[in-house]
Amino acid sequence: MTTTTETLQTMNMLEAINHTLHAEMGRDERVMVFGEDVGINGGVFRATEGLLDRFGSERVVDTPLAEGVIAGAAVGLAAAGMVPVPEIQFLGFSYQAFHQIAGQIARLRYRTRSRFDVPITIRSPFGGGVRTPELHSESLAAQYANIPGLKIVLPSSAADAKGLLATAIRDPNPVLFLEPLRGYRMIKDDVPTDEHLVPFGQARTVAEGSDVAIITWSFQVELSRRAAKLLTDEGISVKVLDLRTLVPLDTESIVEAVETCGRVVVVQEAPETNGFASEVIATINDEAFYSLEAPVQRVSGYDTPYPVGMLEDFFVPDVDRICDAVRRVAGMVT
């Protein structure tokens, strides 16, 4: 299903996002990028670098510092026939826009019975491990996952960042496109330079294995991949499944992973209580209960606010904690 061509180029995730924004704005002149510091500064991480020069200040707009109206204006722009791609500078500040995202954007199609398409893609970096100030690192996907009408997309590779972002921008539904801060420069892989679309709702198998399945998304895919490698040496064969999109959810691939391995670890960076891992476990309960050989293990952030710098590494799941959970579910430790 994934459309690719032959030309590849190694990019980090940030470059892939920038490259995709250029391509999509070039492809469709209805696409508009706006937000705080996205113009002359090219975004605080340079994700929107070069867009203002190339596409002009009608389509690439530095806004006042007000997330509520950044999100809210996207509703009106969509109704005017535009394809809004607003940036929320850090996901923690999407709280200021929560009433517009959860209360309005997510419901516009439903409440108008599709009078209006809502081709809005909200891009926002998030996630910890890089010593950002308070409220810059929070993983909030679960808080949005309980809001019907949104799609929630979390790329874990540069190639997926391109393929999923292009799909998001072309999707007539609102998409939260959540970019892992820690992966911006660290994650680097081969990206198709031509048209490349990754469909939503199709998980990606990152490592094959048959003893334990790790189900995860975003930067935790990278950590899980590393854990899987280490565990192979211990003789545990670990499958790593990257969900890619939480909504829509690829239940089939989850079921398949449970059926193959019988033992599952779910890894998330968010706090444990009601993080999206809970939904994965509930879905397994619904669809693959009888294939489980042991309780699913959760590896999560703790039920504390995201802590300040010196405590961060204790909060964020790491390779060790993932390995421990895999060993635990495999019955190698108790």
Binding site: V75, G76, A78, G81, H99, Y110, S114, D117, P148, G149
Partner: protein
């Protein structure tokens, strides 16, 4: 002037009918227009329904007949709780009611911004109440509109109350038009019981907007003559003398007097208009109550295409 008056008396009649539907258990909570007729109808008449958009709060839809019969028809559907009530189809350029107060102001600014970028002629008018101006959305949006020079007209319908909260509890600002200083845009204060004055203020603002001169904030001052909604008991908090004084300036009476003065009004003529409005409303109610609805509609329009999980839920639901 006669067409403004016709729509004003029509709006009050429509509104009363919807109010009564609720009392009969045939409609949900709704908010009567009483007192705001001049603001809504006056403003609507200053706009171009073929090019301009209106984003209402919730009290105004009965006064937008000028924007097409779809508006009232769908508002009746909306009031009885039918999902199609939220879909006001083209060519009517009117959005459905907004319940989450002031969230419509950012939408209006975005729409005006998009129209400007698309080079569309026309502008956007958004209504909000005096109480709703206390929400961050109002300020954020007006401020952004100023920066964008967006062709948007923000009309604050100051009817003196936000449910039980009087304007002196909303703000110490001298008046709501003064808030325009915070955005660097023109602020206009107009008598909201005088439809012609509202018409002129909106017509001015519209000229500026379509000429590229940016947004205008208009405060139209009137008084809420009825309860907040069908669920409200205003006798708990509205001072009788204040209400009685306001009734002296009932916008419909004000206009009737003026028309009489100009020889444009007869009792008969008004009765005929009311009879037409009544018949028109009757048709809308009959159509709305006859509108089919399959329970499965619950699952439509969440996305353009349902997710697998929605498909599964719908299947379970239909079993």
């Amino acid at each position: 002037m006669t067409s403004i008056f016709t729509d004003m008396i029509g709006s009050r009649l429509f509104s009363q009918r919807v109010f009564n539907l609720q009392r009969q258990g045939r409609a949900g909570t709704n908010a009567p227009i009483d007192g705001s007729e001049a603001v809504v109808v006056g403003a609507a008449h200053a706009l171009d329904p073929a090019h301009d958009w209106v984003l209402p709060q919730y009290r105004e839809l009965v006064g937008l007949e000028r924007f097409g019969p779809e508006v009232l028809d769908r508002y009746v559907l909306y009031s009885i709780g039918h999902p199609d009530g939220g879909h006001i189809p083209p060519p009517a350029r009117v959005w459905p009611p907004q319940i989450s107060l002031a969230t419509q102001v950012p939408h209006a600014v975005g729409l005006a911004w998009g129209m400007k970028r698309a080079g569309a002629t026309g502008c956007v008018l958004v209504f909000l109440g005096d109480g709703s101006t206390s929400e961050g959305d109002f300020y954020e949006a007006c401020n952004f509109a100023g920066v964008l020079d967006a062709p948007v007209i923000v009309v604050v319908v100051n009817n003196g109350w936000a449910i039980s909260t009087p304007t002196r509890t909303q703000t110490r600002a001298k008046n709501f038009a003064e808030k325009s200083h915070a955005f660097g845009i023109p602020g206009v204060n107009v008598d909201g019981t005088d439809a012609v004055a509202v018409y002129e203020a909106v017509a001015d603002a519209r000229s500026r907007a379509v000429a590229g001169a940016g947004p205008t904030l208009i405060e139209a001052v009137t008084y809420r003559l009825g309860p907040h909604t069908t669920a409200d008991d205003p006798t708990r908090y509205v001072p009788t003398d204040e209400l009685e004084a306001a009734k002296e300036r009932d916008p419909i009476a004000v206009m009737r007097t003026e028309m009489q003065r100009r020889g444009l009004w007869t009792q008969e003529w008004e009765e005929q208009r009311l009879a037409e409005a009544d018949a028109r409303m009757e048709r809308a109610v009959v159509a709305a109550e006859a509108a089919p609805l399959s329970p499965g509609e619950l699952f439509n329009h969440v996305y353009d295409e349902p997710t697998p999980r929605l498909v599964r839920q719908r299947e379970a639901f239909e079993r």
